[in-house]
Amino acid sequence: MSSILFVALPLLFGFVTPVLAKLGKDGVAYASTLMQAFLLYLAFSLLSGDSSHIEVISIAPPLGISFTLNSASLLFVALFTFMMTLFSLYYLSHRKTDAYKNETKFFILINMLLAASIGLVLSSDIFNIYVFFEIAGISAYILSAYEKTPSALEAGLKYLITGALASVFLIFAIVLIYMNLGSLNLGVIAQGFESLAFNTKLLISLLLLIGFGFKVEIFPLNFWVVDVYQGSSTLINSLFSAIVVKAYLFVFFHIAYLFLPSAEFSVFLIYLGGLSMLVAEIAGLRQTNLKRLFAYSSLGQVALIFTAFALQNRDAIQAALFIVLAHSIAKAIIFFALTSIQKEHKSMDIETLKELNSPFLRAIMLIAILSLLGIPLFAGFVGKLLVLKSLAVSGFIGVLVIIIIASLLESVYYFKLAGFMFAKGEKREALEIDFTQKLVFSLLAFLLLTIGTMPFIFSGFLSESASVMLDSSTYILNLMGGR
């Protein structure tokens, strides 16, 4: 019952917003934030409840669509609602001086994005996943073109064309699955997948990989990502980086664990992840635009998460979940801070950091960067260490070396950034950050430090989520038992 609410409430809110707009723009803004806070409360009350949060909901029970809420999907739902609530809080104070045009449409779009991301994570029906894939996609296209400048429109168009292509391949995979297995329910598909001919299995997996590969930003298919990040507005990038990619990553691996054709395929995925990380970091080295630079850093981190998920054992998945948390929080900080900087300095060149006169922002950004880099006592460290450890245990020494090289390259540009931030030089007037924003920043930074210094608080739940994610037989059993 509650898992439907996570999707139905934001959708309902989106549908009523045009009428709510009659109340005034402030009303919509506060109502939207309140609704997201309510979802956050719901997610956390489920998290702190009893440990077995498995809930399967079937819509039209015998053969319809099922939603599964277990520890793994609950973790992502909580992350998304948390990030979205903080985003709204940040935006509430940002909009006083620098609101988007047609603000009600903006609120509809972010709530639709939230509903679709949650739907992607919860859904247990492959065609339903396609529908949410499209909702998330289409609201992301509009959000990236939102400002209607030439570069924003270019970003939106590139995103749209690649997204439409991705959905063509996803439909192809779904068509083949239904033709060969006669069902769309993930449980039924997972049971029958083993018995298919090898070629069909290979074909379906490749089509799924191409379809989702565009969205999880994996190497040959990620040519569009950087332009989209640069063209869209800085604030919206935080949503792309903290929510949308994470939802696609979860769905992709959730499906992959249920039906992966062979062990060779997962080795292929591991090498693909390592390669993507290396390429992203090399390309990131010579960037001078901050948004572009952090886009490359996102690509690198996502590739690291991809590699960790592809290792397909419990420790690696736990590590991946740690990086998911650390990366979402750090990127939210970075893009919020860049928004504040851009508002003041009107430029996103790396040189602007020299003129930045705000000790608070500098400290916060430094924490985020150190966490992204994986320095001990910061959140990124735990995940990276665990990934390297499980790579070594599984015997992928080549990938281990590639990731270490990529991390070193990464550190080059992060230190360059830090150097720019603390360089002596002419400073602008002090950049004022109001109380709400300070609260958001401090909360996020505090979380990063907490995860970094006391990972044991989280590791229990994360390892449970990891084993739930990997345990496909229980998932199938619950799905079939739910009927």
Binding site: L160, A164, I174, M179, G231
Partner: protein
């Protein structure tokens, strides 16, 4: 006329090869054409090819449409309705995405005078 084509396996072959040929045309257009409208037409062609592939492969010529009406009440002899429902949904979604893409390209053209997908490089300078 051409009775040997009426075999259900032959029909499946015709459908598979024909729809993949259409898919090829769409993919070729996507890779070779530059104009936005052409790109969107290519994507729409690819989608249509997939829809034809799906419906055609699930089609059994001895069965009826999945609608109960006078004289057609034998449920066991009806075509599977699920592909029809899925394709219905997919057609509408595809159209929505294309319409959005077209409107974005109109705005982009108004601002830059460019309709060429290869010349989209606002960010490279």
């Amino acid at each position: 006329m051409f009775e040997y084509l009426n075999d259900s396996t032959t029909i499946k072959y015709i459908v598979t090869i024909g729809s993949m040929a259409l898919f090829f045309v769409g993919l070729f257009g996507l890779l070779s054409q530059k104009h936005f409208i052409k790109i969107f037409i290519s994507i729409a062609t690819m989608e249509t090819a997939l829809f034809l592939f799906f419906i055609g492969n699930m089609f059994n010529k001895n069965f009826t449409a999945p609608i109960i009406s006078e004289g057609f009440t034998d449920i066991a002899k009806m075509n599977d309705p699920i592909p029809h429902a899925l394709i219905l949904t997919a057609i509408v979604i595809g159209m929505a995405v294309l319409a959005l893409g077209v409107s974005m390209s109109i705005e982009y053209y108004k601002l830059t005078g460019n309709t060429d997908i290869d010349k989209m490089n606002e960010m490279r300078h």
